[in-house]
């Protein structure tokens, strides 16, 4: 499974990458939103785990950019938002794209990892 992790807290990013790789995934990781857009345009990922507050742009900007490549159904399938600030606006925005949101810190790391690699409806 090909996964892109977009997260600017390096320790979170590297650990997530490692944990997903230990589950047999092929993982690319970046902390920059613009670089993520490039990566999405040039590669095909099964899943994109995306932090919302990045240094350059927001996770929603990345999703918006991906609209030219993916159908709304695919966006809802591929993207999982991870955020520490799940305000009502964030939740509302995520619903617009039908994306799943996972709050940081994860309640249970193992089920979060399984959620990332498995069927999204599992959690």
């Amino acid at each position: 499974m090909k996964i892109l992790v977009i997260e600017d807290e390096i320790l979170i990013q590297k650990s997530l990458q490692k944990l997903l790789e230990l589950k047999g995934c092929s993982v690319t990781a970046t902390s920059m939103g613009r670089e993520a857009i490039q990566l999405i345009q040039n590669n095909s990922y099964d899943r994109i785990i995306c932090d919302l507050m990045l240094q350059d742009i927001t996770g929603f900007d990345i999703i918006e950019e991906s609209k030219s490549l993916y159908s709304s159904h695919e966006i809802a399938e591929k993207f999982i938002i991870i955020t520490a600030y799940s305000s009502p606006q964030v939740i509302e925005n995520a619903q617009k794209y039908s994306c799943k949101i996972l709050n940081k810190p994860f309640e249970d790391i193992h089920s979060a990892i399984n959620f990332f690699i498995g069927n999204k409806d599992e959690k």
Binding site: E9, I10, L11, I12, K14, S15, L16, K18, L19, L22, A84, Y85, K104, P105, F106, I109
Partner: protein
């Protein structure tokens, strides 16, 4: 509101400008008169300043005594006779501010000293000519909400209820359309609102609320002209009290920092349009409504809340990174020592996460009641006071047994208020202990239950409180400390009352005991 304006204009022939200064503040002598000069009524102390050509006539409305002086003397007079909190008038350039106003004829400054709206209304019903009325109905609709509060005040009763917004506005519009503003049982569906008999009412709007006020006779005798006039006269005072009441009812939001009361008040445009001046006076009142102490306290709490929120946001990400990387390390081949370290790292991370989470919860603006673990809360307060209370042993006892391990004690209540009270009490004890240079200092908290209450005793072995201070130390501004504000205990008591509890002091030979009673 046109009628309101007209009525006031009629009334204001005698007094052109009425500026309300101090809102009704319980327990806080924000405005204190030297009793020798300005006799204080139980409820209100007022001075009126008339501008009579080049002289000013200052009358004490309560004692009817007057004093004629020049502007310069007036300032001196006020400086001599009026205290604001602990300060004299002296820092305020009264004369300058007044002279900015275009030829005001008269300025009445009212220093209201009454306490709650309930007490105020009951006082009106008991002592004044308005005693022909038996019941006061107050409907408050917070704009944007689909319910309105309905509070009923009798001579010795106070009931609270809710009405639907539609019903509220049905009533509101009925009064607005009515010329006389007096109603009989059949004028509107009075029984629907539990209003009995003939009554006189008014509707008005505040910044965020629509309000209806009714004085009801509770009998069928038609309202007399005098009675409606009496109501009209009291109405304006009541608007202020209601405004204060509403503001007190709600969490303090968007309160601008209280700066210079007199500067603000005297810059209220003094014109004859009641609406305009009262509107701005009401706006000001929203600021001045809270006594200074409460605002400072709330500011500190909300500042603490902001600080903790920032900390939460800034720390939770790196902590989460640590947590995840600890998870990664578990996949490595570790020897038992490394495993032990990793276990401890994880424990510390989880503890840090928990602390952050609890603190932001305990110091939120959330005044709602909810289930929480009292033991956990007390332990968090201990942690929060850790830096001040270093080298002081702190223990928690439940029914005289020391609490250890993961014991839980769930209660339903106001965690924020309780945490704040305990925080203040512990800091007080710490300061007393340090001042008294106590040997083997200790602060112990004892939890015990009564049928309807839960007692939280904060016991320290500091020097205790001298008998002469005991009767006053819950009063605001009362302090024995050099740099104390004298507000800590007053605020604690206030918070305790707010949650229908109580805070008391028990003298002891070996230190201090404060007992916080929380309703179960």
């Amino acid at each position: 509101m046109e009628d309101t304006h007209n009525t006031h204009s009629k009334k204001s022939n005698a007094l052109d400008h009425k500026v309300y200064l101090a809102p009704s503040i319980k327990n806080l002598p924000q405005f204190q008169f030297l009793k020798d000069y300005l006799c204080l009524d139980e409820t209100e102390a007022s001075i009126k300043v008339d501008f009579n050509q080049s002289n000013y006539v200052i009358s004490n409305i309560n004692t009817k005594s007057t004093f004629v002086c020049s502007m310069k003397n007036m300032t001196t007079y006020l400086q001599d006779k009026v205290l604001i909190g602990h300060q004299h008038f002296s820092d305020i350039d009264f004369s300058n501010t007044i002279s900015k106003n275009p030829k005001p004829n008269s300025l009445e400054i009212i220093f209201a000293k009454s306490s709650s709206i309930q007490e105020y209304i009951q006082l009106i019903l008991a002592k004044t000519k308005l005693s022909v009325f038996s019941t006061v109905h107050l409907f408050i609709h917070p704009r944007g909400k689909n319910m309105a509060y309905h509070e009923t005040f009798g001579r010795s009763s106070h009931q609270k209820g809710l009405v639907q917004t539609e019903d509220f506005f049905e009533l509101y519009n009925a009064i607005k359309k009515s010329k006389e503003r007096t109603f009989g049982q059949s004028s509107f569906k009075a029984s629907k609102y539990n209003i009995i008999g003939t009554c006189v009412g008014r509707e008005f709007t505040l910044t965020n609320h629509d309000v209806i006020l009714f004085f009801s006779r509770n009998d069928m005798i038609p309202m007399e002209y005098l009675e409606t006039t009496l109501f009209e006269n009291e109405f304006y005072n009541l608007v202020n009290h209601i405004n204060v009441y509403i503001s007190n009812k709600e969490a303090i939001n968007n309160i601008s920092i209280y700066t210079d009361l007199f500067d603000n008040i005297l810059n209220v445009p003094l014109n004859k349009n009641w609406n305009a001046s009262v509107e701005s006076a009401i706006d000001l009142l929203q600021v001045e409504t809270y006594n200074e102490a409460e605002i400072n306290h709330q500011e500190r709490i909300s500042l603490l809340g902001d600080l903790l929120n920032t900390l939460r946001h800034e720390l939770s990400n790196p902590l989460f990174g640590l947590q995840l990387s600890a998870e990664v390390l578990k996949f490595e081949q570790l020897d038992s020592e490394q495993e032990m370290f990793l276990g401890q790292i994880e424990k510390s991370i989880r503890r840090s996460q928990k602390i952050i989470e609890n603190f932001s919860e305990f110091f939120s603006d959330n005044l709602e009641q909810r289930e929480f673990d009292l033991i956990e809360l007390i332990e968090e307060v201990f942690t929060l006071t850790k830096s001040e209370s270093r080298a002081i042993s702190k223990n928690l006892y439940l029914d005289n047994t020391r609490v250890s391990g993961d014991l839980k004690y769930s209660i339903h209540g106001h965690p924020t208020s309780i945490a704040q009270i305990l925080f203040n009490l512990i800091i007080n004890s710490v300061q007393a202990i340090k001042e008294g240079k106590t040997k083997d200092p200790a602060i112990n908290i004892y939890l015990s239950e009564e049928p309807a209450f839960l007692n939280v005793k904060v016991v320290d072995n500091g020097p205790g409180v001298l008998l002469e201070h005991q009767k006053d130390f819950f009063k605001p501004f009362y302090t024995t400390k050099v740099d104390g504000t004298g507000l800590g205990l007053a605020i604690c008591l206030n918070l305790a009352k707010k949650i229908q509890g109580d805070l008391s002091y028990k003298p002891t030979k070996t230190g201090s005991i404060f007992v916080l009673r929380i309703p179960k």
